[in-house]
């Protein structure tokens, strides 16, 4: 009976995802431009959150460098947008972030815990301020214009990046590479003693997650049409994915998706009307989640379905 349930559950999820993809892909045909543009930024947040979770989910290294990788993608697009074709620009945006992440990874992944968090945050701030200084002192103008792209094209590009990020996250989770990442997150010293080259594994995962952030940044730049270091390297791009993923729960793939979708949607609705209350509400929810739902909303649902909330473990 369990088998029947498992198989039907699996095909149910597959069917559901397929339906959602078709729905998302055909959406611009029958809804007005504004919702499409809103949906684009929601998916942008989902991409950053899902790719953040590729690395930080299993390894438990909390990275605050997302803004750096996103911003690098944005600037790549601004610099190369006029000269090259859009798909090329986006791939290059991803690759530049990938390479940057390899360097940052080799430099910082020997740090653990708080030191790693602060260092990654420092790196993105360093890039932002250096760029601002460069533009102010050396170029005389701050910010750049980016070649605009039709909002439907932007939407489809972001959808493709989303699908690829999701597929990558899924494959990594199921692969032996994913098991290595998980072992590192559980007990790094033991992981190295069973033959896992922790530095290499961590750095590659870090760079993979940066690739999608850079690609997302490259396409979003064409929607904003004007960018400067404050927009491109906005620290919120570092913080939001962490909060969204923790809210949703990093144990499962759909946790970060759920968290990012919900908060990005809330942001779309609330930020224009109550910008201060938005952060206030957001912060309060987050404290509640961290205190009472350490595995996020998805973790709560799972626990609940497994047989009640009362079931406690003897050795937590």
């Amino acid at each position: 009976m369990d088998w029947v349930r498992m198989i039907s559950k699996k095909s149910f999820f597959l069917g559901l995802s397929f339906l959602i993809i078709i729905l998302l892909a055909t959406l611009p045909l029958y809804i007005p431009p504004y919702p499409v543009i809103s949906l684009t930024s929601i998916i942008m947040y989902i991409i950053i959150t899902v790719s953040w979770a590729i690395f930080s989910g299993p390894t438990r290294y909390i990275s605050l460098a997302s803004a750096a990788f996103f911003g690098v993608g944005v600037y790549t697009s601004a610099i190369l947008g006029e000269a090259l074709l859009l798909p090329v620009v986006i791939v290059i945006g991803g690759l530049v972030s990938f390479i940057l992440a390899l360097f940052i990874g080799l430099l910082t992944l020997r740090l653990r815990g708080m030191y790693f968090i602060i260092f990654t945050f420092g790196i993105s701030e360093l890039i932002r301020h250096s760029l601002l200084w460069w533009e102010t002192k050396m170029m005389g103008t701050v910010g750049r214009w980016v070649v605009a792209v039709d909002h439907v094209v932007v939407y489809y590009v972001i959808l493709v990046i989303f699908a690829l990020a999701l597929l990558t996250a899924y494959l990594v989770k199921r692969s032996r590479f994913g098991l290595a990442l998980k072992s590192i997150g559980e007990q790094e010293e033991a992981a190295t003693h069973i033959g896992i080259n922790a530095t290499v594994v961590k750095t590659i995962a870090f760079a993979m997650s940066a690739f999608f952030m850079g690609a997302a940044g490259a396409i979003m730049a064409t929607r904003w049409t004007y960018i400067d270091p404050k927009i491109a390297f906005n620290p919120l791009f570092s913080f939001m994915p962490v909060l969204m993923a923790i809210f949703g729960g990093t144990g499962q793939l759909y946790g970060p998706i759920f968290g990012a979708a919900l908060f990005a949607y809330l942001e779309e609705i609330l930020i224009t009307k109550f910008p201060y209350y938005y952060m206030l509400i957001f912060g309060s929810i987050l404290i509640v989640v961290i205190l009472f739902l350490p595995h996020g909303v998805v973790g709560l649902v799972q626990k609940w379905r497994k047989g009640g909330l009362k079931r406690q473990n003897a050795n937590p």
Binding site: R176, L179, E189, A190, I194, G195
Partner: protein
């Protein structure tokens, strides 16, 4: 044949010499015990051999090749495995996944996932944990945790196994089981280097014992020689 040898192995932590000028040699197929009072430098020596810590001076050779300066994962892949004093399991992963990871990454060979899975199952059976394979490792009682660490170490296909107090914290019945398991491993022809405080186990299992005190080797010999050695008795019981 020499499998492991150390020459004037030294480790300083600041001004403290945790391990000082220790020479040792272990032959293939031998079971060697490492004993000494708390703080003698036993675990530090294990950390130096397995690559957790860099040596200050001295050289360690494994199968005739220098391994000082290598990273733990490189040393593991040369065929050396260890357990930890406080079992360092992948707590959130299942018992089976703990062993599977070691089967997949612990060797230089290319192994398919299904082969690694089969191997992990066999090892769980060998240490008598196959019934709890699907449990999260963190839910295991202490005796099972220790056995899981042994299975995980075995999964890396080692020629030399280093046990850091696998018997600490066990009750008499569990102790008997643990000794039986080590004997079983030993009968497979494995070379074993073990730190242990349980004297009964050390005296029964080991071919030879090395005694450390304040970071230096003060005695070495068969269990009988060590048990009757004046220096060792003084170190343990005071003069």
């Amino acid at each position: 044949m020499r499998i492991l040898e150390g020459e004037k192995v030294t480790k300083h932590f600041g001004g403290l010499a945790a391990v000082y000028h220790v020479d040792f040699a272990i032959d293939q197929g031998e079971v060697v015990g490492l004993i000494g009072p708390n703080g003698a430098g036993k675990t530090t020596l294990f950390n130096l051999i397995s690559g957790s810590l860099p040596t200050t001076t001295g050289e360690i050779r494994y199968k005739g090749k220098k391994i000082t300066g290598l990273k733990p994962h490189q040393i593991c892949r040369k065929g050396m495995a260890r357990t930890f004093q406080s079992a360092k399991l992948f707590a959130g992963m299942t018992v089976f996944e703990n062993v599977l990871a070691a089967s997949l990454f612990g060797t230089k060979r290319a192994i398919t996932v299904s082969d690694a899975e089969r191997e992990a199952m066999e090892l769980l059976e060998f240490v008598e944990l196959s019934t709890v394979g699907a449990m999260p490792a963190k839910d295991l009682p202490i005796a099972h945790r220790k056995r899981l660490e042994v299975a995980r170490a075995l999964a890396t296909q080692p020629d030399l196994l280093m046990f850091d107090e696998v018997m600490a914290g066990l009750n008499p019945a569990e102790l008997a089981q643990a000794m039986e398991l080590i004997t079983k491993i030993r009968n497979k022809g494995m070379t074993i280097f073990m730190i242990e405080h349980v004297m009964k186990a050390i005296m029964n299992i080991c071919d030879r014992i090395i005694v450390l005190h304040h970071g230096s080797k003060i005695a070495e010999g068969t269990p009988e020689e060590i048990a009757t050695s004046q220096t060792v008795v003084e170190v343990y019981l005071g003069e």
